[in-house]
């Protein structure tokens, strides 16, 4: 392999027809992090949350029932695997699909909760995620139209950057920000975090962080500012 992406050598690729996964030192590390965290989630038990009561000295323990616990762990594992897939994919549209999958699964993780305010926050987050699919897929489609390919390895070899590609990148960024619920859309996600049932909830956080780092790598590959 003598292909270089952002200054680091490609260690290897997994060719599955026209869907190609590739490894560099950078994304291999993030892939391993996502998988390791998923493995920890798969074997861990949920915590019992203790809430202080107002006006009294008593505490109240909030536990998660066995059935709810199982489905939530399953969804957390799916979320971890989708994040890991988004880390190593060499296909722009695959990346957007993995991002959407983490978005849907994030809604699912808090969906079984029996608290009205948490469900309300999840509903608002879901609306934002759905609206964000317009810039997300729209951006990917603009990049496809501007470059003629969605393979990151092929885009990496292009010597030029057109304004259309920059517009597509900006849309892609807005889309991922909405889908993972970062910066301007963070408010509803913070509400979702008040649910009992860590550590499964932490995968929501970890997936959005890793996907954002990966997105910045993809934007650098597309726009080549250096």
């Amino acid at each position: 392999m003598d292909i270089t992406i952002l200054g680091s050598q490609i260690i290897g690729i997994i060719p599955l027809g026209d869907i190609v996964f590739y490894f560099t030192q950078f994304n291999l590390f993030m892939f391993a992090t996502a998988l390791a965290f998923t493995a920890i989630i798969a074997i861990s038990k949920t915590e019992t949350q203790v809430e202080a009561e107002f006006g009294k000295l008593g505490d109240r323990a909030v536990t998660v029932a066995k059935k709810e616990f199982k489905i939530r762990r399953f969804l957390a594992i799916i979320c971890g695997l989708a994040t890991a897939g988004a880390m190593i994919t060499g296909d722009l549209f695959d990346f957007t699909l993995f991002v959407c999958l983490t978005g849907i699964v994030n809604i699912g993780i808090v969906g079984a909760v029996r608290q009205v305010d948490v469900l309300d926050a999840a509903y608002q987050y879901g609306l934002i995620a759905m609206m964000a699919s317009l810039p997300l897929f729209g951006g990917a489609a603009l990049i496809l139209a501007a470059t003629g390919t969605i393979s990151l390895l092929a885009i990496n070899t292009l010597a030029y950057t057109t304004p259309m590609m920059i517009l597509g990148s900006i849309l892609l960024f807005i889309g991922v920000a909405g889908e993972t619920g970062v910066a301007p859309f963070f408010a509803t996600k913070a509400e979702m975090f008040r649910t009992p049932g860590s550590p499964f909830l932490l995968i929501i956080h970890l997936s959005s962080l890793l996907i954002l780092v990966r997105l910045i790598e993809i934007l650098l590959i597309i726009n080549k500012p250096f």
Binding site: Y123, L127, S133, G138
Partner: protein, 223 residues
């Protein structure tokens, strides 16, 4: 920088910019509607309009690749709207303290033809569906099984049969997925992959009727 080959007519190439503008307009109309509307359910439905704007963006590219990318976009859109509507239902149930059934109205087929028509027709449909194979064959064979179910409904059907059918449907779906995996990983065994996918999806679609049977089971017991 023009990437479009010469064989494409300039009219088709010229349609790209108007299509993108239409997509942006559709998105903006949807967002404006969401900002005005206050009812949660209406907001959810309006969000779907924004999703349609996304489909226009992808479709505007107008190549074979874009055509194959519309389908995952549509599926993601549907999955999200289903997830959010489930959240909305769950929240409303939690608020009001009432629960609702998945199918609120019981199915009553008060048709004489279901008792008098020969059940042999179902066998013909299933055989023809097996001959066609694939998605179309699955739909025809499924219609045959559904016809059999409805015509035999008066006598009642043991519940174990339906659970078994549902299980077979799930396993056949796995067969379909394995077929696709074979196409990607071992392209030299493409015939095996094609056959696995074709007959997997045939059995799966056919036994969708079995799943309907599972949902009808409660009705069978009542009568």
């Amino acid at each position: 920088m023009i990437l479009v080959p010469d064989v494409v007519s300039p009219i088709v190439v010229g349609l790209y910019a108007p299509a993108i503008i239409v997509g942006i307009l559709v998105g903006l109309i949807g967002l404006f509607g969401i900002s005005v509307e206050k009812n949660d359910l209406h907001v959810l439905i309006l969000t779907d309009i924004v999703g349609i704007g996304m489909l226009i963006f992808v479709a505007a590219v107008g190549t074979d690749l874009a055509e194959s990318l519309i389908l995952p976009g549509l599926v993601v859109e549907l999955a999200e709207i289903l997830a959010i509507s489930e959240i909305l239902m769950s929240r409303e149930m939690r608020k009001s303290g009432k629960t609702v059934e998945l199918i609120p109205t019981p199915l009553h087929f008060n048709l004489e033809i279901l008792q008098t028509a020969p059940v042999f027709l179902a066998i013909i449909l299933i055989a023809y569906g097996a001959f066609l194979s694939g998605f179309t064959g699955g739909a025809i064979a499924g219609a045959g099984i559904l016809f059999y179910v409805m015509s035999i409904k008066v006598r009642g059907v043991p519940s174990g049969v339906w659970e078994g059918l549902a299980g077979v449907s799930g396993m056949a779906w796995c067969l379909w997925l394995v077929g696709f995996l074979v196409l990607f990983v071992f392209p030299q065994y493409w015939l095996l992959g094609l056959m696995l996918a074709a007959f997997g999806v045939f059995i799966k679609v056919a036994f969708k009727a079995g799943l309907i049977g599972v949902m009808n089971r409660e009705e069978f017991k009542k009568e």
